[in-house]
Symmetry: C2
Subunit: 346 residues, 2 copies
DNA sequence: ACGCGATCCGAGAGCGCTCTCGCCCGTGGC
DNA sequence: GCCACGGGCGAGAGCGCTCTCGGATCGCGT
């Protein structure tokens, strides 16, 4: 390993430019009050020495780290088999790097991990946190709140009603579900069934609510509980076919379950969309395009949601610096619209 | 925002325990030479005050950050529609957190990003780097090398032959490809075609080599270039059907292309696997299980590969501390075995 | 010419930690 | 009973930076 040459310090740059450390610092941090001639000399020295500020030293005094934690709480590998996550991460990454912030990724699986994460956050290594895929009764939010870290959640937290001012970004699950069901009705289908997601997640609950908004007094047997997995979708579909053989449409809580449902329908000789129309949710590529037939589904702009989460957090961080109550102004919840993507299945 | 109470410092703990800062430091960092009685007192003080070391201050003197960068160089969204990445990340994450290292994620899209990343790495914010999805002629490795950062690559870099001692972890693409093709031959298929991946990636090249190892003097028209996408797979399949209508098996460079190929085959009325057997690569869930018919494919232990990458890097880091040449001993390349997963398509 | 702001810059303290060095004290050899 | 020795602990310097504060310098009005 090439023993790294010690990197130049502020001191070194100052010496070379014939000025004091303070002046170099001013130039480097872009504060004004330095005459152009000097500033130019400093900049040249920085260039020549290849000076890069030592972040540790800087943080030590500023107490800022320009780093935010992204926490993905996913006990199961399920969501991991899902490009969703990667997309959102990409959006976040773009926004953060645009503002010179680092992205510290924390993946958690179980409660032990959450304790560890709590300790980490309390350790003050990062300026804020972005949290995903919380399930009901997760201890994490409590830990984070105690650490006093500015946080933005991805997806509506279940305790939203309780505490106030919780910032989160979510897609319009309820509205998207309504659109999906209305589309089915518009196709002339009368007996529309719904396969729900795992009901310990707000996304599943909201989609179910959207379904109910439209199918006001639907036969309760038209709703079958799934768990967001293909296998769960298959099971739910079988149950539905069993209890309501006359159904002519299915709205699945996500594309994975829709794929499972398609398989069961085919197995039972029901043609899609002729006999039964199917709509999914997420527009999870490449699944949605690969099913037979390709899936009509509800799309959300995942990447943009990621960006927005980051943006909200960064804004909050700046607000905090200004030390006000930050209770007002900021819309603490942003709901993204969804769009129906028509393919062959409905 | 609750104005965070200033966190206790070493000084505070020392005062409370009635010892010097040095002693507290020793206890906290687990170095010996502190009598048990004192150590216990210090530990209690730490507990009572909820002391957590300030990482910035520590790094300032140790020049260690206990942070490593994970760089995913992916210009296209392609690989992002792919759970591969998430799995590997999870493996890395587990290993790193087990050793109290942070994971700093850097996602790059274009060359500009790479310049930025280069600067970041040179900035000495992290102790090492894990790099993925390099394409041929990427400037990144050069930048990293100049920054003198210990690095482990995910997937064989194309310049492996050139420079020496490049550490990387890859799966046995060539061997896996051979297994796939042999399986097809074992099924009694004689005219096996291959749809390659994007040939600017070593994984695609290696899989092609594996194919050729077995199909020593195959008709060159049995090889069609793809690009790892479903659409590319479709196009390649059409070309193959066109030039070699008599083919009875296809080995696709990944599952996405295999899915595309399946569609084209179905469209052309070829039954799978009866008329044409198909094998993919990656066992990319949930794709492989959702195709019609489910895909026989080659699996690799992604998560474990991630873990190993992290482990290799951390070991290198420790070795560096010990300031030796680290030229020997360490196997700088590790190839993971693959296994064939039999489903219905072949 | 002289004084008075305003402007620009440097000196120096201090962020919280690690680590070297040397002091102190207890022990053992003679 | 004295001195050498060694292990346990504290004092203090210093990591590289920011930021306050006061001094130097300049321009301007009179």
């Amino acid at each position: 390993m090439t023993d790294t040459v010690p990197r130049p310090t502020l001191e070194a740059v100052a010496a070379r430019a014939g000025v004091s450390r303070a002046t170099v610092s001013r130039v480097v941090n872009g504060s004004d009050g330095v005459r152009e001639r000097l500033a130019e000399r400093v900049r040249r020295a920085v260039e020549e020495l290849g000076y890069v500020p030592n972040q540790a030293a800087r943080s030590l005094v500023t107490k800022r780290h320009d780093a935010i934690a992204v926490i993905v709480a996913e006990p199961e590998t399920r969501v991991f088999a899902d490009p969703f996550f990667a997309r959102q991460l990409r959006g976040i990454s773009k926004e953060l790097t645009a503002h010179d912030n680092q992205l510290v990724l924390l993946l958690t699986e179980d409660r032990d991990d959450h304790a560890r994460v709590g300790r980490y956050l309390a350790g003050g290594h990062v300026d804020g946190a972005l949290v995903f895929s919380l399930h009901i009764d997760d201890p994490l939010p409590g830990l984070i709140q105690r650490a006093g870290l500015p946080t933005v959640y991805g997806g509506r937290p279940d305790w939203n009603g309780g505490r106030r001012g919780v910032a989160y970004v979510d897609s319009d699950n309820r509205g998207g579900a309504r659109d999906a069901v209305r589309h089915l009705l518009g196709l002339g289908r009368g007996r529309v069934a719904h396969i729900t997601g795992a009901l310990d997640q707000t996304a599943a609950l909201d989609r179910l609510d959207g379904f109910r908004d439209v199918m006001v007094d639907a036969d309760p047997r038209l709703v079958a509980e799934g768990d967001f997995t293909p296998a769960g979708g298959e099971r739910a579909m079988r149950r539905l076919l069993d209890s309501c053989p006359g159904l002519d449409a299915v709205f699945a809580g996500n594309d994975l379950m829709a794929a499972g449902a398609l398989r069961v329908l085919r197995e039972h000789g029901r043609r899609v969309p002729d006999d039964v129309a199917v709509v999914g949710f997420d527009d999870m590529l490449p699944i949605a395009e690969q099913t037979e037939p390709p899936l009509t589904t509800v799309r959300q702009d995942i990447e943009e949601m990621g960006r927005l989460m980051a943006r909200l957090l960064l804004r909050d961080l700046d607000g905090t610096t200004a030390s006000d109550e930050n209770a007002d102004g900021a819309p603490s919840a942003v709901i993204f619209p969804t769009t129906l993507v028509r393919r062959a299945s409905a």
